[in-house]
Every structure is written in structure tokens, then in C-alpha cells.
Symmetry: C3
Subunit: 304 residues, 3 copies
């Protein structure tokens, strides 16, 4: 009896111990698989730096120094210099595509070193935007909804030893983004802000049966992109197919209202609601902006 | 006897159980090591978008949205706009370097939104090319051999909710590439195609003892790169060292036939078989294209 | 007695075996966690290739072919063509930001295919620089200290089958960097070199109470960046706030000596010690280089 009892106890111990190993095993494996399959959050740059200087190299280095595993990519380093409104538009149209958790580091920053604040913005779709408080985030906040804004003031998330007055991309925005990508909670960047700078952007509207808007950007093809939404066309019951008259300052021309650039012959003038979901005018396989010297910021008028 | 039998059975059970843990262990470890060491296949972009707009930002976002672990890099976003032939050449000379399994997403797409098909091409060296069926893949197919072509028609691999007629890079090509990178078999993109669009590219040839070809591309240094293969020089028994006469339209000049740019003095005219394995003419540390106004597409004649 | 002895031995065996599994477990887990958390070393490109051609696509492909897990990023592909001194400056100001272990592949290489040597440089801060021995690494070696230089001569780390005389970025530098990133020791690239090429760069200095230097680079904003260090200003006891006179050739102008671009009104002329820690002159939100036609390489004189 006693011997068999000892035996039973031994077997029980054995079972407990033998269960222990697989349990740790499963836990560890789960942990490892999880940490392996969890991608680093993306850090996405957008700047007006151009790419000939050391600036984008330095900002990326400053990120990798904080998080050697960082996954960095970029939208553009060729935002027109100091053009916050163009930057806000380009950011909006790109950011919408990225997965939740993406951290955008945005440096179009004419006020660097002055009183404008470095901020981190969280939107309701779970993305984070880091950059200067100069209006550059107006459009993404308007579109995706504001969750919270923080002023970046914690020296531990900056390059405090070499802080410059001219390159906060390298010294504040990049490092702050890198710390977030390592799991630092956004609340640790600094205090909550109640408000943020926005720029006054006149909306396009209908005036005397014409649609009046603004050229927001001329793209690299020379396509001329306005701030005119489809709803204004719908209000006027304008539908695909007919010609439209376009007036920009003293330049007047006619475009075919179509769906795709290739819907008119090569060299033909056209207007369409493009991938940015706003009205643009273009020459099929040509450069309209150069042909007629159309510039961003100009007033544009569309009529039947 | 009975007791010792029980003991033996207990020990046997123990051994079986005790083997169980290490076995799972090894399997799981193998699995984890495998999944950790297996890199994500590369997704390599080539476009004529330029980099000032939201376009490359959006296409990359559309890829990351489908596969947050995607590894994206690029060949160029500065293919001359709508220049399918230049794009085909640049793709050929880059793609050859990449490992099997690489997925190229190529957007030089003047016909976007018209009837040209979105396709995925598999070549015999195990690489995949995604883009418009407009001839852009002619040269890689010719060089590496065609395994299969599929029309991309499965809405599940597209951004079906926001499909535009102007930006299939974002709405079809990028997402399709991202799905492939997650392991979706290429057969699931759509039906097999029997043929593909190719462009007629006249080969360089020998005419009256001269080599006659075409300028395929002017590179960023101003070097003038032709479609002339070494075999034509060999046929004429032209060897390194002597001067050669070059004629492009009304411009005639002489070059030294050498191996390296630095084989002539700074400012000297030279011709060589460059890294693209075709004949090019250049000025050492100068810009030949600007100096003589030579353009891609022009006829070029070489003689002794 | 014998039976209980057998039992004890069985239990002992059991304990030993049962310890075995967790031990392997811990070792393997450690190994896996280590290999998962150890990032691939970064391979950082800097070239004067521009981005319109197949060149950066090919160099990256040549790296990925050797190491499909490679993590490649870049400082700039727009160093002024053949401008080794500008490249050395841009490299210095970027490289300082990167973590130890980073491998820089640098191709500003007017002498490609001639006798200039391909080299790999290790600096005392644990970074590696690969490129031509033409002076491009002078400034990082001076700043971070030389650990060792190797001539790259081992054909196993090159693309020996397709070695060109015109594109060592693709055929030597890229592959060599890729092999290092896979753990090949730098000693295996080739023999140790005793010295390296450096360029003579006149230091800025004080002459008759004026600071005399050189324009090292004009950045993408048109800011004019000199080689003048802060110490020279300190020697002359020049402090923030006053106006300074600037003379470049026949052009003379006055700047406000400030901390940030925004410290003068938009369009105002200013001088500051910028993020590169050297003196630069600029127009707030303007392009000084264009306004006064100032070029890199010109002599610049600053006085009170």
C-alpha cells in the first residue's frame, strides 16, 4: 500500500513537472511568434527638404539611433518649400491609405526655432502625426477626427544634447516618433493641448451657376488639381460627357468632362474627378500647367 | 512480477510523455526560426510619378494596408512620363539583380482607365511583374522567359470600395502585389492570358560597315545610351583603343573607344560598353547630352 | 531495498530528463528571441546617381541578392555629380546620427574603373564605410577616428561574373556591404591598407579681423553653407544679435546674426550656425543662392 502510494505521488509529481515544460513552451512560443509577427509600426516621413542634402539622411539616422528596428518609409520630400497648405493636402490623400498605428513624421516647418509648438496628434482612426503646429495637420484632423493633441516637451524623447534651432525634424520630431514606435505611450511626450493651428481654406462654392474654387496643387505631370468636390457638380446636375469651360485668370479653355485621361486623344484637354476625389484639368499625356502657365493658389472657375 | 510490470509501463509512459515536450519544442522552434528567417518577399516599385505628389505615398500605403509587414523598395519614380520603352529598359537592367521571388509593381500607365488590361507576369527566373499590359514588360519577358500571364480581375485583390479610373497603382497594382507578398497564389488574381502587348523595337544593325541604332535613354549624367550590343562591334572586329565616329542627326563627333570613363582626360569624349551592356557615348565628368543636345529616341550611327 | 533503489534511480533519471527539455527550451528561446530582436545592420546608400536611371535599382538588387533580409535606406542620391568634397560633408553630417554597426555604401566615384582602390573603412565609433578611395571618407575618418582600412579585393564578395569597369556600386561596393551585413568579417574583404586618399581642404580662418572661409554646399532651400566653425566667431567675440557683413566675390550684403530662420521677417537676410554646426547665410523663406547667384566652392568673407 505504502509503496503504491509513493508510486502514485511520484507519478503525480511527474505529471505536474511534465506539464510545466510544455506550458512554458507554449507561453514562450506564443510570445515569440507574437513579437515576430507583430510588425514594427511604420514611421512615414513627409518633408519639404528635397533629397540633395544631409537632412533626410540625418532625420532617418536620428530615428534608427533610438529604434534600430524602425521601419521607415516616406510620402514625399518634395513638398513645395514652406507650403503648409499643399503639404496638408498631400498628407491627407496619402495618410488615408495607411494602416492604423502608422506614425507620420511631417516636417514642413517655416517657423522652426520660433514659438510654434512641436506637437503629436492622434486621430480617431488610430494614426499618429508628429510635426510643427502650423496647420499642416488641419485636413487629416478634419477628415479623421481628433482624438488628442500633445505638445512635445519631454526632453527624454528629443536629442537634448544637440538641440538646434533650425532642424527639429532631426532633434525633436524624428526621435519622438522613434520613441513612440518602441512603445512609449503618446501621453509621455508632453502635456495635452486644447487646440491647434489651422489655416483658413476657402471652400469651393457655386456662384451664378459656376463652380468657383482654387488650384490646390499642380502635380508632377502638370495636371491642375482644384479643391472642387463632386457634390458641387451634382448640385448643378453636371454629368460626364459634355464640354466644360475653365477660366483661370485671363486664361480660358474648354475641357471634355471624362472619367480617364485616355478618354480623350493624346494632347486633348480634359477634366475629371481624379484619384484625389477633387476636380482636376489636364492634357492627356501632356503638361497643362506648362502649356498655359497655371499655378497653385490661383482661382479657378468652371462653367457649362 | 506485476509490480515490476506496472513500473515498466509507468517508465514507458514517462518516456513517451517526456519525448513529447521536446518534440513540440523542436517543431515549434523550427517553425518560428523558419518564419523569422524567411524574409517577406520584396515589393519593388518603378513608376513615372515623380516624388512631389501624394502618389507614391498612396501606393505604398495601399500595400502596407494589405500587408503591414511588407518590405517595399523602389527602382525609380522618375521614368520619363508615359515613356513605356524607357521604362522597359530601366526595369530590365534593374530586375536582373534581384533575388527570385521579388514582386515588381510597375506603373508607367498612359492608358489607365481605358481598355488596357492590368496584368501579372511570372518569368522563368521566378520573379513577378505587376502593371499595365502596355509593353512595359516586353524586355524582361524576352530576356528571362515567360512562365505565365494573368489578367488581374479578382476584386478581392483590389481596393474595390474606392476604385478610380486614374490611379490603378493605388487601387489595383499595389494591392495585388501586397496580396501576393502575403502568400496569395498568382493564379487567384484572375484568368490566364494567352498573349501580351509588346512594342516594336527596331534592333540595332550593321549598314554599310556602320553600326546603326537608337538612343534608348539619356542618363542623369548626360551619358547617351544606345541599343547597340557588343556583338555588332565584334562582327566588325572593332576593338578597344581607337577613335570612333559618332553621328546623331546633324551632330558628328569623335570618341575614344575605352573601358572606363576615367580612361580619357576630364572633358574628353569617349564611348564604352557600360554597365547596361550596351554602347554609350559620354564626356568624362561632363554632360554630353547637354553639350550636343542629344535626346532619347534619336538615331545614332557609329563608324570607324 | 533493491526495488526502492531502482525507484530512486528511475526518479533521478526522470528529473534529469525532465530538466533537459526546459533547458533546451530556454536556450532555443533565447536564441530565437535574440535573432528576432537583433536587427539586420542597416545598409545606408549615398550616391551621385540621381534617381531616374536603373542605377540605384541595380545596386539595391545586388545587395538584396546577397542578403534577401537586408535593410537598405539612403541619405541622398543627389550629391552633385563627381563632387567628392560635397559628398564627404553630407556623409559626415548624416553618418553621425546612425547607430553603431551601420554600413554605409557610398558611390561618388569619378575614377571608377581606373586605379583608384575600392575600400572599406572602419571608424572608432563602430561604423563601416564602403566606397572608392578618393577622399570621400576624409571627414568621417577625421571626426570619428580610424580603426582600420581594407582594400576590397576578395572576388567572393563581388559580382565576379559580371564585373564592369563603370559601375562598381553594383559590382563591388553593394555586394561587399551585403556580405558584411550577413556577418562576414571586414578582414575577409581584402588586405589592410596603411593609408587613404584625402583631399586638401583649406580650413576657414581669421584674417585681419575677418572670418574667411569657403561655401561648401548650397542646400536645396538655397541656403549658403560655409566651412566656418563657431570657434572662429568666439575668438572674435562675435555674439548673436548684430548685423554682419558678408562678401562673396563682388557680391556684398548684410545679414542679421540670429538663432533661427524665423528670427527675421519673411524675406529678411540672416546668418546662423545651422544644424550642420557651421555658419550659413540665408533668406527667411527665400532662396539666397538664386537671389545673388552664390555657388558652392566660392570664397566667403564675414566681417562686423
Amino acid at each position: 500500500m505504502i509503496r503504491s502510494l509513493i508510486l502514485k505521488v511520484a507519478k503525480l509529481k511527474f505529471q505536474v513537472r511534465n506539464l510545466f515544460a510544455p506550458l512554458i513552451l507554449l507561453l514562450l512560443s506564443g510570445l515569440i511568434l507574437f513579437s515576430c509577427s507583430q510588425p514594427q509600426p511604420l514611421i512615414i516621413l513627409m518633408t519639404d527638404f528635397g533629397e540633395k542634402d544631409f537632412y533626410i539622411g540625418a532625420i532617418k539616422g536620428a530615428i534608427y539611433k533610438v529604434n534600430p528596428n524602425a521601419r521607415i518609409d516616406y510620402i514625399s520630400n518634395y513638398i513645395s518649400k514652406f507650403n503648409v497648405e499643399e503639404g496638408a493636402y498631400t498628407l491627407l490623400k496619402s495618410a488615408v491609405e495607411y494602416p492604423a498605428g502608422t506614425i507620420f513624421v511631417v516636417v514642413v516647418d517655416p517657423g522652426v526655432g520660433t514659438k510654434r509648438k512641436p506637437i503629436a496628434v492622434k486621430t480617431n482612426d488610430g494614426k499618429i502625426y508628429i510635426g510643427p503646429d502650423n496647420g499642416i495637420f488641419s485636413l487629416v484632423i478634419e477628415k479623421f477626427g481628433l482624438a488628442a493633441i500633445f505638445e512635445i516637451s519631454n526632453p527624454d524623447v528629443m536629442q537634448k544634447d544637440k538641440m538646434s534651432s533650425t532642424f527639429h525634424g532631426r532633434d525633436i520630431f524624428g526621435p519622438a516618433g522613434a520613441h513612440l514606435s518602441r512603445g512609449v505611450p503618446i501621453e509621455q511626450l508632453g502635456g495635452v493641448l486644447a487646440d491647434y493651428v489651422r489655416f483658413d481654406s476657402e471652400k469651393a462654392r457655386i456662384v451664378d451657376g459656376k463652380v468657383v474654387g482654387k488650384i490646390v496643387v499642380v502635380d508632377d505631370y502638370g495636371n491642375v488639381i482644384s479643391n472642387i468636390q463632386k457634390s458641387l457638380f451634382e448640385e448643378l446636375a453636371w454629368s460626364l460627357g459634355g464640354p466644360l469651360k475653365v477660366k483661370v485668370g485671363s486664361r480660358e479653355f474648354s475641357v471634355e468632362f471624362v472619367k480617364a485621361y485616355g478618354d480623350v486623344p493624346t494632347g486633348g484637354y480634359l477634366g475629371l474627378f481624379g484619384s484625389g476625389e477633387v476636380f482636376e484639368v489636364a492634357i492627356n499625356q501632356g503638361n497643362l500647367s506648362k502649356a498655359l502657365n497655371l499655378k497653385s493658389g490661383e482661382r479657378i472657375e468652371i462653367s457649362k
